[in-house]
Every structure is written in structure tokens, then in C-alpha cells.
């Protein structure tokens, strides 16, 4: 089907050549387009940061070069490794619980009409509720320990899985169900051959969102529940006003979250290569 794009020229590309030819020379064009502009903006931002951070009267912001050196040092020396593993361990445990519980509950609420009408409003309310308000009682209920943190992460992440799984299950194309039925699929084979594959992309979206929420939840737990791991790293730097370490730690933590989300996205895409991406 390579020719399909060749067929309908007018639909693919309706910009006539004449308009394009007015673009500046290729270097100028590159600098003003896409990556060139991005690069320029990053350079400008870092330059502004450097200039602002280097002013003697500014103490809250360390210059970029100091922060970068600190970042390199903490990564290369392995000083950041242990706190990172600690935070990630909490995030992972909470995420796994959320995944298992979320998929099961999502299937139940998606398949049963009664559960859908009665539990949906509650799940939606819990989805938007700020679960961190439970932090003061988690110590009473679970304990001020790793289990308490895992519980907080679980609560932060689970509703994303439930809501997306049940949305996927209920949006199964009725035509497909009918087709499968006409070929004799009943109960279990219907679940396995139609409902599960159909809802898989939705479940994966839920799981990807849960990855992000789990990391955020773990950091909140490490800052607010009991100071430990990356949370302690940041708070110690902050309380001693060691700004270059604090900023390096923040940059590291944010990049860590970004990297994990990108990873989750890649995993999701590779698992779902049969389906064209339809979100974002």
C-alpha cells in the first residue's frame, strides 16, 4: 500500500511550492524552526539562570554551573544512588499493588452495570480527592514506616488504574462482541478474545498514569510522611541552605520522574504497536 500516499496529493500536502521557496537559507531556516529554536531557548534560559544565580545579592538561586557540577558529582560518586533506590522501591511496591487491585476492581465495575451506576460516582470522587490529606492518620492506621508509605503510593495511584480499566471494559465495541458471539464465543472465550484485547490499551494508559502518580506519591511520602531517601536528601540540602545541592537534587528528581514516564510510554507503545496512538 505504499502508493496510497502517492494517490491523493491534494489531501496530503496542500502547500504549493511557491510559498515554501520564500524560506531563508538553510542555516537561518534551521535556527528558526523546531530544534534550532528549542536549542536557542535552552541556551537563553541557562544563560539567564547563570547570570541571575551569580549575582552576589541572590542567595536562593545557585548559578547553573555550580548546580550542574553538583549534579554530576552526586551521580558519578553514587551519593544519590541509595536514596533513589529507596524512593523507587516504595514507588514500585505501591504501583504493583495499585496495578493488581486497580485492574481487578476496574473489571468488576466495568462489567457489572449495577456496579457502574452505583460505584462510579464514588470512584470519580476518590479520583479527584487529594489523598495526601490522609497523611496525618496513616501512622495510626498502618504505621510510620515503609508500609505506610507504600499505602500512600497505592492510594495515589490506584484510582487512575480503576477508572481507565473500567472505561476500557465498558467501551468494548458492541459490534465486535456481536461478531464474536456469531462465531460461537461464549463467556470466557469472549473475555479472552474480545474484551481483554480491546480494553488492554486503556489499561495500559491507566498503568502509565499510575507510574507518574506512584513516583509523585513516593516523593510526597518521603517528604511529608517520614523524611527519608530523596525527600531527606532535598530537605537536608534545603535546611542548610545549600542551594546548589538542593537545586541539583530537584533537577535530578524531576528528570528521574520524566525518564520513568518516558520509559512507561515506550513500553506502552511497544505493547500496543498494533493500535495507532490516539491520545496526546
Amino acid at each position: 500500500m505504499a502508493g496510497k500516499s502517492e494517490l491523493a496529493v491534494e489531501e496530503i500536502d496542500a502547500r504549493p511550492v511557491r510559498q515554501r521557496a520564500s524560506a531563508p537559507g538553510w542555516l537561518g531556516g534551521w535556527l528558526l524552526s523546531g530544534w534550532g529554536l528549542r536549542l536557542l531557548s535552552v541556551v537563553a534560559l541557562l544563560a539567564a539562570w547563570q547570570w541571575y544565580g551569580s549575582r552576589p545579592e541572590v542567595f536562593a538561586v545557585a548559578p547553573f554551573t555550580d548546580v550542574f557540577r553538583e549534579l554530576l558529582e552526586m551521580v558519578l560518586s553514587g551519593r544519590i544512588l541509595e536514596p533513589t533506590i529507596g524512593t523507587l522501591a516504595i514507588a514500585t511496591q505501591g504501583f504493583l499493588w495499585a496495578a493488581v487491585v486497580g485492574i481487578v476492581v476496574g473489571f468488576v465495575t466495568g462489567l457489572s452495570k449495577l456496579a457502574r451506576t452505583t460505584l462510579d460516582p464514588l470512584i470519580n470522587a476518590l479520583y479527584t480527592a487529594p489523598v495526601s490529606m490522609l497523611i496525618p492518620v496513616i501512622g495510626i492506621w498502618i504505621g510510620l514506616n515503609v508500609r505506610g508509605k507504600v499505602f500512600l503510593v497505592f492510594l495515589t495511584a490506584v484510582f487512575a488504574v480503576i477508572a481507565n480499566t473500567s472505561a476500557g471494559v465498558r467501551e468494548v465495541d458492541p459490534n465486535l462482541v456481536e461478531t464474536a458471539r456469531s462465531f460461537g464465543a461464549r463467556r470466557w472465550s469472549l473475555y479472552r478474545n474480545v474484551i481483554l484485547p480491546w480494553s488492554a490499551p486503556f489499561i495500559l494508559i491507566g498503568l502509565r498514569l499510575a507510574v507518574g502518580r506512584a513516583i509523585r506519591g513516593a516523593i510526597v511520602a518521603d517528604i511529608l510522611l517520614i523524611t527519608d531517601n530523596l525527600g531527606r536528601f532535598l530537605l537536608e540540602a534545603g535546611s542548610t541552605f545549600n542551594m546548589s545541592v538542593l537545586l541539583a537534587g530537584i533537577v535530578f528528581t524531576m528528570l528521574l520522574g520524566y525518564a520513568l514516564m518516558e520509559l512507561a510510554k515506550k513500553v506502552e507503545q511497544s505493547l500496543m504497536s498494533w493500535k495507532p496512538s490516539q491520545y496526546e
Binding site: G3, S5, E6, L7, A8, V9, E10, I12, D13, A14, R15, P16, V17, R18, Q19, R20
Partner: protein, 267 residues
């Protein structure tokens, strides 16, 4: 600049070249090559051709939405550089604004022309009535059937009272019955005030049924390969479709188009 002896539409030496990416290679594709066409005032002209031959592009150049690579288009003697008051378009995918009700969609062109609101409403109602949708004035487009949506699109174009109607496969996405109905309705409306119409289609029968003159277009590059006069009396009806001559002309055009059509299927 303005010449009185000019036709309603005058297309001279028009070419358009697209740069297109096939795989990793940028190619220059001549979509339209050296097109010349004069349409008399009040004529109903159809252009029929295989998909991808550039007929829609030709219409969009005439409507002032796309600039040609070479050559020019004049409407009543004035060169088209941007959309002109003389023309209004009806699109293949109705292109109604989903947030406007039927009536407000019909008013759109009049709003852009700064027609005062009372007059605007009156005119929109009149044209909505003409296409038989008065009782649907307050519906949103998504509540209408495909045929109704195209009627609204037609009413929206008619409401600005253009001298030239540019229609881009307006019935292409409809089912056969609805298409027949709308063809007859367009024919009826056209007989009333005889606007100049340029009608693009890939449906040979539709072209013959509606037009006084059918231009057959080839693809790669897009060129006119035949200019046919359609002799049937108006008003036309199912009777027209049944005429032996109608069938012969249909067959003749099909033979002309067959090579390009087969070619584009094979690519």
C-alpha cells in the same frame, strides 16, 4: 482591470506543483498543468476526474484558498488573490461549525460580510426554507443526517448570494438515494436563479445529470482531455437518467477515464 466582456470564470495557463515526500525523497509533482478554461455567466459546469487528479485543487484555487504556482484565475475580470465576494464554496465534508445551530451556520457568511443582524436572520431563514430545513433551524449539525448537513452547507453558500457557486464533491459522502434526491433538489434550485456553478465530482452520472457542460480531467498531470456539451432539457428527472443518450454519454466518459482510473487503482 475590470473587463465587461469577460466570462464568469477565466482560468489561464494555470499550473500547480506540489513538493511531496515519498519515503525520504522530496519530489516535485505537477498536480495541474497548463489549465485553460472559460465559463460563461450562468453556466453549470462539472469537472469529472479520478481521485487525485487535482480537480479539488483547481476549485480551491478558483475559490482563492490556494495560490497557483503559475497562471491566474479571474472572476468576472478580477484576478483571484484571496477568497472573493463573487464566489461561495460548498465542501465535501459539510464543514459546518459544530458549535453553531443550523440557522447560525447559514448566517456565518453574512456575519463575515457585516450584514446587520435582522436582515441576516431573514436571509438565513429564507435560504434554510429553500433547502427545506426551516423546522431544523435550532438543531446542531451533529443532530442532522448527512443529507441535511449538506443542505445546510448549500444554504450557507447561497445565503451570501454569490454570483458563482463552487462545489467540491458535495454529495460524494452520501448514500445513493440521498445523493439522487439532493441532485434533483440542486437542479431545481439552480433552474430558479441560474447562478454560475462549478461542480467537482468523480461521479460521471452526477456530472451529466447536473451540468450543461462536462469537462473530463486526467490525472498526473491534471489536464482536461475532453469538453462535452450536455444537451438534455430542464427540468431533469429520473426520466433523464433513463434516456439512451444519457447512457451512451456516460459510457463514453467512462472509456475516457478508464486508463487514469485503472492507473490510480494500481499504484
Amino acid at each position: 482591470m475590470h473587463r465587461t466582456d469577460a466570462g464568469a470564470v477565466e482560468i489561464s495557463n494555470l499550473s500547480i506543483v506540489f513538493s511531496q515526500r515519498i519515503g525520504k525523497v522530496q519530489q516535485r509533482v505537477a498536480a495541474l498543468e497548463n489549465i485553460n478554461l472559460t465559463i460563461a455567466d450562468g453556466a453549470f459546469v462539472s469537472i469529472v476526474g479520478p481521485s487525485g487528479c487535482g480537480k479539488s485543487t483547481l476549485l480551491r484555487i478558483t475559490g482563492g484558498l490556494v495560490a497557483p504556482s503559475d497562471g491566474e484565475v479571474r472572476l468576472y475580470g478580477t484576478q483571484v488573490l484571496s477568497p472573493r465576494v463573487e464566489s461561495a464554496m460548498v465542501f465535501q465534508h459539510h464543514n459546518l461549525f459544530p458549535w453553531r445551530t443550523t440557522l447560525r451556520n447559514v448566517e456565518f457568511g453574512l456575519e463575515m460580510a457585516n450584514v446587520p443582524s435582522a436582515e441576516r436572520r431573514e436571509r438565513a431563514k429564507h435560504y434554510l426554507d429553500l433547502v427545506g430545513l426551516t423546522s431544523f433551524a435550532d438543531y446542531y449539525p451533529h443532530q442532522l443526517s448527512g443529507g441535511m448537513q449538506q443542505r445546510v452547507g448549500l444554504a450557507r453558500a447561497l445565503a451570501v448570494e454569490p454570483k458563482i457557486l463552487l462545489m467540491d464533491e458535495p454529495f460524494g459522502a452520501l448514500d445513493a438515494q440521498t445523493r439522487f434526491l439532493l441532485q434533483e433538489e440542486l437542479s431545481r434550485i439552480w433552474v430558479q436563479d441560474r447562478k454560475t456553478v462549478l461542480f467537482i465530482t468523480h461521479d460521471i452520472e452526477e456530472a451529466l445529470f447536473l451540468a450543461d457542460r462536462v469537462l473530463v480531467m486526467s490525472s498526473r498531470p491534471g489536464r482536461f482531455i475532453e469538453d462535452i456539451n450536455v444537451p438534455f432539457d430542464r427540468p431533469r428527472s429520473d426520466h433523464t437518467r433513463g434516456l439512451a443518450q444519457f447512457g451512451e454519454m456516460k459510457e463514453h466518459i467512462w472509456q475516457l477515464l478508464k486508463p487514469s482510473a485503472a492507473g490510480s487503482e494500481l499504484i
